[in-house]
Symmetry: D2
């Protein structure tokens, strides 16, 4: 049975991503309100809650989840904090939207999956927001018509203007390529069976010691290839592009040209500078979808299984990066709950 009252959401973590989700639920998303914010840094939490009527401020996720006006949990804290927050939510059987990564590695993702399976029903939607991006959605819909035939290859480009100071070579895999890992699985409907990471000579624009760019080749259990250029210091803009090559044709997204100018000997347009611009609509739709499903008493969207599979592939990817060779991906059997 669906409910008509707005959903009360506790947002855990009020960094850049968490604060953006607070704003989104407060001002964009229909049918939900922020009833609690949680951050180890109490002042940051207070700042996020400012101006929101009746929004509680907490430093402990479990305490927030115990509040009477908290119906659901959005986890946007750092990756290592996810497991504990998820397990707390499971204790109260609360629905969760958990930012990616589900957890930082395959072993902890497995523990979360086992705990959810023990509940006997899905409670987690993982924040793979590309599944809500209008262009990806159109690409997926086109593939499902079968018009282009079976997918054979997927070419991905993922470019950021510049990386944060703390970014490591492995994070190009776990933080960035993780999106293409999920997009590959979701678009093709295959699991990833092996990973190879090629390392061109680093760009002069990359910080010392960072292996940037990298070129990742994912092989799927359906016989398809998915290659990913990841380049986090490209300098010119934020670009996410994908081309699926099928048996009878190809389809490409990410070139969207809204405003084209002619000036001074050049035609063209501007390139988004970060994900808040490029994927604003996807984040809005993602959270709205979660709010609506929750109010209907359902869980939909990317599951714990999807989060685990991404963690397992990224773990293999980091090993491929370190060894310079091809690393096979080993997944546990998929639980019934996620089939």
């Amino acid at each position: 049975m669906s409910r008509r009252e707005p959903l009360g959401v506790a947002v855990i973590g009020t960094g850049r991503m968490g604060a953006d989700h607070v704003r989104r639920i407060d001002r964009v998303v229909s049918g939900a309100r922020v009833t609690a914010v949680v951050d180890l840094d109490a002042r940051r939490a207070e700042a996020a809650a400012a101006g929101i009527d009746g929004c509680g401020v907490y430093t402990d996720p479990a305490a927030a989840m115990a509040a009477a006006d908290v119906d659901a949990v959005l986890i946007a804290s750092s990756g290592p904090a996810h497991e504990a927050a998820l397990l707390s939510a499971f204790e109260r059987d609360l629905p969760v939207l958990c930012e990616k990564p589900l957890t930082p590695d395959a072993a902890s993702a497995l523990r979360v999956m086992d705990a959810e399976a023990a509940l006997g029903h899905r409670r987690v939607q993982v924040g793979f927001m590309r599944r809500y991006d209008a262009e990806y959605v159109r690409l997926k819909a086109l593939l499902e018509t079968g018009e282009l035939g079976r997918p054979l290859m997927l070419h991905n480009r993922h470019r950021n203007v510049a990386s944060a100071p703390f970014f490591t070579s492995g994070m190009l895999i776990t933080d960035s390529v993780a999106h293409e890992v999920d997009a590959t699985r979701w678009l093709l409907g295959h699991e990833i069976a092996a990973v190879t990471v090629l390392r061109p000579a680093p760009s002069a624009g990359a910080p010392d010691g960072l292996l940037d760019p990298q070129f990742v080749v994912l092989e799927t259990n359906g016989g398809a290839l998915s290659d990913v250029e990841i380049f986090v210091n490209c300098g010119f803009g934020y670009q996410v592009q994908a081309e699926v090559v099928c048996e009878r044709g190809t389809a490409r997204i990410g070139d969207g040209h809204a405003l084209v100018t002619n000036v001074g000997g050049r035609w063209g347009g501007t390139i988004a500078q970060d994900w808040t611009e490029r994927f604003a609509q996807a984040y809005d739709d993602e959270v709205q979808a979660w709010v609506d499903a929750t109010r209907r008493g359902e869980v939909a969207g990317p599951s714990t299984w999807d989060g685990y599979a991404a963690a397992a592939v990224c773990e293999a990817g980091v090993r491929a990066l370190d060894t310079g060779g091809r690393v096979e991906v080993d997944l546990v059997e998929q639980p019934e709950l996620y089939k």
Copy 2:
């Protein structure tokens, strides 16, 4: 002082556009809820209200506006019904989002403007939703930087797949070109001083007797030209494109390519088939902007003056269509309230 309770909205008119606004306020827009729907056809109103908690159903706009839980009015009835509904709202000093056209002709628009001016503050936002379309917004922002110099010409294309059976030759001006009339005024910041309508031989795809396509030339009081191809039976899709030609460059919108395919000897993408697809985001943002402003106690967006100016230009346009010549546009002096 801003309010935190959701805004209670009465939606007047539950045809295609009104029903879409009911859905939008109920499910998309944050901070508002539908508390009343009004339609002469009570069964259509009931259908629109179905499933919305506490939503009243009315056949008389004034009765709906008298309800305690109605804080604001959205008018989406047919054009001739707008004047009475607007005047009723003014009696209760309720904020209004009025679908375009403000009213069907310049004389009635003037009466509405006088009534609003008598209130001493703005109450009306007119539904010129292109001002909320992401591409138009970017185009306007670019013009305001001055980077391209002064605008000299604006080339517009406005194409529909097919026209409704009741569409007349004059409605190509008053119903369709009305959007370009407002877009020209808004983008260039000029008033329109004269209109010429050229009539190519009608397309075989147009219903008998309909002068379709037409080619409209608007001359502005700033010395700029704005030409509009209006073609409401183009057969292939819904396209709205605009190119501003400035002293140092041009800028074009409306070619946006989200998904490009290669298949069977052709590259390219799909064309939207109607405005619900092309302008979904603009409608959402328009209504959200109105809800937010209303909750802050403000009125923003296109004003009654803008609605009046469009009515006056379209009236001149229909005369230009009928006479085959150039017709000057005569505007009343702009009231202080709208400056």
Copy 3:
């Protein structure tokens, strides 16, 4: 009967265009050689002939045409000199490729046409080189399939970086729009029946007193409209674009994007800066087509009639520019020779 020897060509006029044609015949075009160059300025003619074996240098066109090794004439002198050169060529029955305009006005064009008609066969190909441009050729071919239905409107953009110091407001019509006059006639297969010239406030980038840009509307005897933006000081590049709007679809040329870059927050490409870059292939193909036809003993391509019609339309256009009104075009009956 076709000949195997290279065609000996006299090039009359060795300014920018003539010198380029000398180079083209000498180095690009197969089956022809330059056997004479003619210029009132003997030193300029000598410079053009330098390095070409056996190329005569003349100051008098008629003298060049009398030379034994001259089989054909390419006229690239200034417009007012064309009539005399054409009549000289007719006296010797030599095939001519005459740069546009055929002659500067309709009356002189008529005299040339009468003289050619008196020969009883076509001798003149007029230099409307857009008919040889690969993109225009594809557009024409598409229209001829009938796939898009009957053409209703043609939207043209014609932009130059900057105009030469001697350029007058009338020359925007006679020198620039002349190309769209012919392109409209050729693409649509209609004659032009009336011309209107609209004059936006001139760009700050235009020289004092030059009415630039202009917006020209051509009405055809087939009920179609062709509008032309002519802007000869646009500052940003040389652009020639055309979109034909037909009953079932539209087709556009002139956006060709060969090289797309992503750099510094912008995607896009370069814009050609003049016609030597944009239409190099068209000029090559035009001259080659003429050489080949001449060697087969035939005359093909744009005829004297086409040159006359363009002259008559441009004359009407200049009057429309001067009077600010609509001017009808009055053509003589088309001689049998050109049907």
Copy 4:
């Protein structure tokens, strides 16, 4: 010293490619004529020579080269016949334009290179025609400005509608990817150090037993990667695209859109169906460049060294295809003649 007489060319091989070159030299290229055609199949040679004044017909390349009116040789026979024809040309010190591949394997390419080196001067231009394609030329020119920084990666797409019946899995490397091998070397100025060939599940559109598509990764001695999608039964068109990713930006070719249509719910354009359409201009320019250089007594363009390097890389590629692993490329030291 340059010569003014047309260059007499013997064309060896009159299959599809050879016959096209005969036509090109006879009708398109300036400054050359076909004085001999050679084919083992005398009737095919006669057909190719038909209508060309004074063109000899031969079945033996050496005999053709001995003719007094043969100044230069164009080799377009099958790959295994190249070595003998090249050595015959060297005996008479004739300049040669040799279609790619120079020879079918690295060992025979080395023998040719040694023979040319023994002459003490270059005589061979290899038919890597992409170096003459306008888009590749612009891409190379852009890279040479240094504006985008050092190249890091090159992404290539090479798609054919359908493969010929005799095409083998190895020929995807030696016949098709050979072009990208040369383009990578030429664009980046690196030699190729290692090759990996990945094999997605073959397309249902590929003939039984053909491994199509393949995904080839070339590693260069400059630390760059070049990946190649080769798909010779893509069904939809002939596409050759390349994007260079540099330190400060990327540049892409191969999307060129000459004619864009809107019809029936789709926008877009046609895709070329084979190389004769896509690369016509490149072939013309290639042959013209060779004719001009030859008449100046020079040899320019891709050298025997370039042909050898491509052969060596392709050989490694075929081994990589067979073994499923990474194969290093071993080149002899580059002779002085080619530096």
